[in-house]
Amino acid sequence: MSSITNTITPATEAARKAPPPSDVRRHNLAGWLFATPWVVIFVVFMAFPIIASLILSFTDFGIANLQDPFNLHFIGLQNYGRLAHDQLFLTAALNTIIVVVIGVPLNVGLALLIAIGVNRGVRYVRAIFRVGYYLPVVTSIVAIAVVWRFLLDPDAGLVDNLLRLVGLHGPNWLGDPSLALPSVIFVVIWRNVGYAMVILLAGLQGVDPTLYEAAHIDGAGAFARFRYVTIPMMRPVLLFVTVITSIGFLQVFQEPYVMTQGGPLNRTLTISQYLIQQGFDFFNQGYASAMAYVLFLAIVILTLVQFRLLRPQT
């Protein structure tokens, strides 16, 4: 193929490989100029605040610093030490871990099942199903949470009223301390499953059908084809979906904030909620920054672990 199309003379090829130095500089300059709007926005609104809050996390920055911002004291790692003994933070951390450990596998697993179903089971109404599952993703989280709060209401809610029709006494989904977190996780998954489903569906459609055909000829059953063809081929997509879902679930905020405000008994208090409370209700911004960095570290570590476990095997 190359012998046919290669009509470039050796001279022009050399020129393309090593343009004169002044050209490089000019191109670089032009490149940076094009990138300037983004770079400026990134530095002002991302890099600067991220670094500033890292610095804040080592200070006692609080309400008194409002008028006098530079009258703050560097207190080393005290904010981080305080976190380790803060019962509410530990509760929030535990709740967040539960959301991730239970929610992420359920979310990804369910999304995979739905994706397979939509991909193969329903041939003609596929678009309707795809839209149906994806709709919650593009709807306002607050609206969804408010609606679910009404649906799960023990007196007037649809869920308990349906249970009553079949003679069951439905529980107080959001008011019972042991059921509140599972209910919140359910709503979080209900909202997020469509996103994972759409990505996985694209992945499934990218798997070469000849692989299934070959496996089928070799006598592989439906489960074996799923286990030895689908899963290995889907690894990169699964990794992506798992990482994105985990990052989202670690920062879950709106659903519990709207549905339970962290209650009852702080059973649905997440790190993000506690962070906002400390940073903006109580204005302990130094302490809140430390919390943000702990959460950031947790996200980095979890992501690295997932990359390691789910990396493509060669």
């Binding site: 609104f45 600067f48 309400i63 610093n65 209700d281 109580f282 911004q285 809140a288 943000a292 959460l295």
Partner: protein
Amino acid sequence: MVKKHVVLVALLALLMSALAACGGGGGGGGNANSANLTVWAMGAEGDNLKTLATSFTQQNPGIHINVQSIPWSDAHAKLLTAVAGKQTPDVAEMGTTWMAEFAKTGALDTPPSSISSSQFFSSAWSTVVSNGTAYGVPWYVDTRVLYYRTDIAQKAGITSPPKTWDELLADARAMQQKGGAKYGISLQSNDWEEFLPLVWQDGGRVYNNGSFNFNSPQVVDALSFYQTFFKEGLTPTTEPPGFDVSQGFIQGTLPMFISGPWEMGLIKQNGGAAMDGKWAVAPVPGKMTNTSFIGGSDLVVFKNSPNRDAAWKFVQYLIDPSVQARWYSIVGDLPAVQAAWNSGTLASDKNLQVFHTQLSNTQAPPTITNWEQIANVIDNDLQQTCLGKSSPQQAAQDMQQKASSIGSGQ
């Protein structure tokens, strides 16, 4: 999400460092007869204050007032940002429990000596005082009284509203058992504003002269009493956010509750004529005293304002007894000035009389910088107790330990 907060936290820092340089002192108080004032007010006050501002400008043609309405949910953050950026209005409405916090920022002006503290309800005045200095004036007040269904009470054989803790408990039991109501009363498992008055009624104080006093017999006593209603199933255990007690009250499932004047309007609005004559209000039951909670809003003038004299003039207009009475007729806010209660509906309405009586027997939470955090501790431990996860003794100890480690912030 978190990235966004990191950004917010740091943007604030950026804003402050950028504006720190161009701050500068307020200088004199400006011309008292000629100014353009910016006034921030929240909720219904923000929507209706223009009416009073127009009347004020008719009397003081040189002073023009621009009222900006701010939703309550944003107000705290917006005021803090304004102080940080030194972009404060001239006058602002301020939630009573925020006073100490804003006094500490050093942004508030002290009222002129011509404003006498004795014209207000004394507990209302106490909300503007932080570390012995006043930083504003009370504007309107609210207090909590007992609402009860007279028809259900009658069915349960109750002839007069409960006056003591024991009677309250007995009446709640009777309304549930004999009155046919699903519950006896509606209490919130995590509302310090509802719980703290019980400590006061028992003669206790949770904060005194720089130290917390949660681990006291009065707090334990109040917790045990409160817990009883939950243990016996006399009240629902938890309520969803945005819960509206007037619905259950009208349906008859929640025949008693303790709340503020705003519920009167809700009951009339949601219940209509069918509720006429079926309910009444009474002062809160007590033990040693019948103390209730006082809330409401204060008015503050910012030090940064170049028009402080004109600003205080407007504030003085708003606390004139006749203007306070007119303000009640416009938005239904109860006057903080005692003299305003002497005429019109405020003097003649039977329900309002109950609020008036209750107002002279009220207390405000401690005006300390860290109160919002302390209140959060109370909410948490109160719920632990109500849901039976900790004993009143444990909860009191836990409150004491956590409150001490947070500190008053003074």
